[in-house]
Amino acid sequence: MSWLHTTMNSTLGKKVLMALTGLFLILFLVIHLLGNLQLLLPDQGAAFNIYAHNMASNPLIRVVSILNFAFILTHVVYSIVLTRLNKNARPVGYAVPNKKSAWASRNMGILGTIILLFIIIHLKGFWYELKFGKVPFVEIDGIMMKNGFALVQAAYSNPIYSLIYVIAMVFLGFHLSHGFQSAFQTLGLNHNKYTTFIKKTGLAFSILIPGLFAMIPIIMYLKSIT
């Protein structure tokens, strides 16, 4: 399989890994958002808790969750590898910078690093706490389950914490504003019949998805102070 190693180790191969893992993460964002929007239902978190409970006990979801971690790691590792390779390709820089491209496209590494910091804060605050921390239990339909809703509610009643979430979503939006359409180009999908559609979808996606994510802490914070 040395041919496969050579292929994936080429500049093109490394980029394909970025694109595939990036697209998987995009898909994950949609599923994650649909689940989380249940936090806003007026049911004291019952729907959200049942959903989280079922997710935690579903073996298929466990596999997907491990894959998700592996893909984030691959995406991050290759972003470092590529950034170093790209920096090495120009040892001496220009006195006058070139601005003939979108800002986000030139700063994917910075945007990604901020997203990574956010992912760490996010995992520590919710994923780790739910899995290993002391979370109160709640009984719904006769089943005892962890009250994840209470955890989230407590976290978002802190304005600083909510603000971190909202700001992180802005950076995610910029990352996606370039990343979404870029992934298709990397996979060779550029064609005058559908590229305009991909670019428009990418723009809508990068506003809509982070926007809806950001709405959750905003609304829950506002609820906590009224």
């Binding site: 500049t11 120009r90 006195a95 070139n98 003939k100 491209s101 496209s105 996979l187 060779g188 064609h191």
Partner: protein
């Protein structure tokens, strides 16, 4: 109407590949707006020679936008502020009276500076040698149009073939990536029947050579296409990616 203008030039001077180099500032007055950018540097060089100084070395050949030799980053943009032209086609009327103009060489590890604004672009030649050709049997002269090619495909292949290999794409790319150049060279042949025979090995070999030369990867920023004097499209990079992975996953191991 012709006008005379004054400029301050900030030009990169470097004795050889090992010299650290640095900017030198030259005031230059009474430059005709009808002059090309290279003619303006000719005027500067005449002055430098008259003063017993070393003239500014720069690459040029055809001075009509077809050879791709002229290579300067002018105020941060390869080939200067205008779109779809080379430096030799740029005129001084594009620069206001009294401005400072910064001139730098192409910057890339694979394009080492030889002297001042002259860089070594033989890495491009080695990529072409790796597969940017078609092997034809020399025999009798074939009839014209013996191989029918649809107009649309001929046009697309021709668009790719307009690449003059100047290297502005590399110079503009934040990663000093050669993808636009290599993709144009792969595309122009991959689309035509004569080039299809070797399309798999061509994609594999040219991309292997491109990586070996130390060019960067593609972040799809589009800066390359934006500065390309021939406006080569990113569609060719997507085609190159398809050619490469199709070759890698379907062609026999060599």
């Amino acid at each position: 109407m012709e006008e005379k203008r004054n400029y301050t030039l900030k030009i990169w001077r470097q004795k050889d590949a090992n010299d650290k180099g640095g900017f030198v500032t030259y005031p230059l007055n009474d430059i005709s707006t009808d002059m090309s950018f290279l003619e303006m540097i000719d005027v500067l060089n005449e002055k430098l020679i008259a003063d017993g100084q070393e003239p500014v070395h720069f690459d040029h050949d055809c001075r009509e936008g077809i050879c791709g030799m002229c290579s300067m980053v002018i105020n941060g943009k390869p080939h200067g502020p205008k779109d779809a032209i080379t430096t030799c086609q740029l005129h001084m009327r594009s620069f206001d009276h009294g401005v400072t103009i910064t001139v730098e060489p192409w910057r890339a590890k694979a394009f080492p500076v030889i002297r001042d604004l002259v860089v070594d672009r033989t890495s491009f030649d080695r990529i072409i040698q790796a597969g940017g050709y078609v092997s034809v049997n020399t025999g009798g002269v074939p009839d014209a149009n013996e191989i029918p090619i649809p107009k649309k495909i001929a046009d697309d292949a021709f668009d790719a073939a307009t690449c003059i290999g100047c290297g502005a794409c590399v110079a503009a790319c934040k990663n000093a990536s050669a993808m636009l150049f290599v993709s144009a060279k792969i595309s122009q042949l991959a689309m035509l029947p004569q080039g299809k025979v070797e399309r798999a090995s061509r994609a594999e070999d040219m991309i292997a050579q491109m990586d070996e030369e130390g060019f960067g990867a593609c972040t799809n920023t589009g800066a390359c296409s934006a500065v390309c004097p021939k406006e080569i499209s990113l569609e060719h990079i997507a085609r190159m990616n398809r050619e490469y992975f199709t070759a890698k996953f379907t062609a026999k191991k060599s």
